[in-house]
Amino acid sequence: MASCGSACGSNCVAKVIEGEGERLKRLSLDEESSVRRCTKCGEEEARKDCNGLCAGCFRAYLYGKFKLAVTSNAMISPTDKVLVAFSGGPSSRVALEFIHEMQSKALISWDASNSQALPVFTVGVVFIEECAISGKPSDQVGQIRSIVSSLSPPSKDLHIVPIENVFPSDLRKLVNSINDATGREDFLRHLRMLSLQKVAFEHGYSKLVLGLSASAMARHVISATVKGQGYSLPADVQYVDTRWKVPVVLPIRDCLEHELVTLCYLESLKNVQVLDNPCTSINGLVSSFIARLREDNPSREHTILRTAGKLKPFNFNKFSSNQYEFVPSRLRPKFQVVENGEPNSPEVLCPICTSPLSATELASRTCARQMKGLNIKEVEAFFLSCCESCHFQILPKEETNISCEGFFELLPKPMVKRSLLRDEIKDYLLDYS
């Protein structure tokens, strides 16, 4: 998932930013009348939107969550080359700031140490530009450049990638052929992830950082539940996701969106105005639902995320210990040995959304595939590889074969290759047995 890149997310973020700014302006007037102390340091004045903390302690509180997530899940190692996905929104902006701070501190301690046995991890930034699909001219690129250049030393490579350059097909035609508004949004999100993966892989990055907040995760939990993706939902809400060539990590997964917006305001971190799209999809409905729940109870988003956290994660939701063999033992992170008696069978993933297919979906697809036999077309094989949700909201209906063929031709090659690769593996296994 791209960081705060979806259409309804953009609308909610824009509204949150405006509302937050106005509220904080009013707060500054009321601040002098009733002075409360910070509950942690007791010196500075406590701010109302900072959980009873002052600005400094509030930032330390959020950075502490970030750092704990990074260390507990072994997200970044000294030899890593980290790519931060930056969309201009407050969540990815804070993620970028925190990664920069962690890198700066590591560099200082590296300079001070005598051994200098291990290097400090390097950081790159990527921004996916989507003018070709949205059809609106973008003045974001200049702002993105100035933000990234201000985060130095150490300097960071910035990759500004138009989404149509990554895939040579006519993407606008492809996206517009999807009738369902929700399917269109989800497909764009999948394209964004494909673009990020391509940039990360081609430039030799070893980790991809997404600035997804707890609020974005809560929205995704409800959205996935509503779309019938209860089986694959745990895959998307863990800290670590190694389904991809370049593993994806979510370091600010525990921070709420309005906290990140407040931090951007307090520290004058510059944001780029996100496009305001109308919300006619299920994702938009879920966003307004969660926003209403948050007004009723501010910790509701954490509750939703904690509930999803109790669902069973997949094998690709953790790093294997062999990736850290070259690191000295004192620096090697301690992996908890999960005593799973179940065999670690590899999950079959949907080629479009990379969600693991449930046993029911696999069984129905195997039956359908066997019925068609050797005469199955490449198009039909691809369609049978997709999950139920993508079938319903992204793939064209099978009533018109013309649109199926046309849709298949326009698909990005990495998506098609995913299903083909599995077919080759199956053929190879058949020959082996």
């Binding site: 929700t182 409905l285 639902f289 729940l293 009723d296 509930t307 669902l311």
Partner: protein
Amino acid sequence: METIQALEKVKRTTARVCSLCNQRKAALKRPKTLEQICIECFYNVFEDEIHRVIIENNLFKPGERVAIGASGGKDSTVLAYVLSELNRRHNYGLDLFLLSVDEGITGYRDDSLETVKRNELQYGLPLKIVSYKELYGWTMDEIVKAIGLKNNCTFCGVFRRQALDRGAALIQADKIVTGHNADDIAETVLLNILRGDIARLSRCTDITTGENGPIPRCKPFKYAYEKEIEVKTKSLTLSTYAYFKKLDYFSTECIYSPNAYRGFAREFIKDLERIRPSAILDIIRSGENFRISTTTRMPEQGTCQRCGYISSQKLCKACVLLDGLNRGLPKLGIGRKKECTRENSNNQEQIKRNPENKGPSLHSKHGNIEF
């Protein structure tokens, strides 16, 4: 020119013909599948689907005594009719009863029970009514006087669930069926995610719950949409209109929780259904596919030391609440940890308490979620 007019006429006629029988005029668009079908085909499809759900899930065995939880509302009214009809048509061999709970809410439950009594006459099903007063010694009116309007749904939900079990035991029923439809179950899935209740999330989509207990509960309407049940209700109303000349189901909301019916989750589900009708079944499928992590500690089923009914604690929730009422401490069993700590000094028993419900916004129309 005449040919064009004839083609237009044929086109207009074809567009309104039922898509199933291709004969009668299409009267409604089915919410679940968006097919244009006539009334007769809708009845057949609706009842056939319920029958298929019953057969595929092996809900009943021949000779079983089945208690139908009847509240007088449209769900249980349609359930009583459909079960009675399918039992006769497909020879399930079931001994069917109506089982009602009288909460003791003046002006609300007594009117709805009149509806159930009429259903008893119409369908020829024996009716058993159990009341809070006779089981617990308190009516809901008295409970509200003691505790106020806030949190009274907790008492009602806990008592009603156990009252159904007790009533079923009184008539020696083998199973209980309730009229929970797809909308209710989807709402429950969402609410359990919102409230962080992982134990209930793992079982709220089961079509039969309490299978290992003395009296299992079944939900034959698990995949039936509420809108379809409403259509069915109207047909039953019309068919009985000739005899009684009034609506034969009760649709007023509970007077003690007027805001609970239209909670956030229910509004959300209605909006979802408008955007994508299959979302309700998608939520249920998600609920069925959730796999709870083995590291999560789940409560163990046991029996209450005092009354012997199912409980995951030493004392069941009904006994805890009833004890509080009888001792003049109605908030016993309701409240946060601080209140627990304070009241622990007065009680020798160590009883875990659930956190207070966060206002009416998260209540469903059935009060507390007790699936």
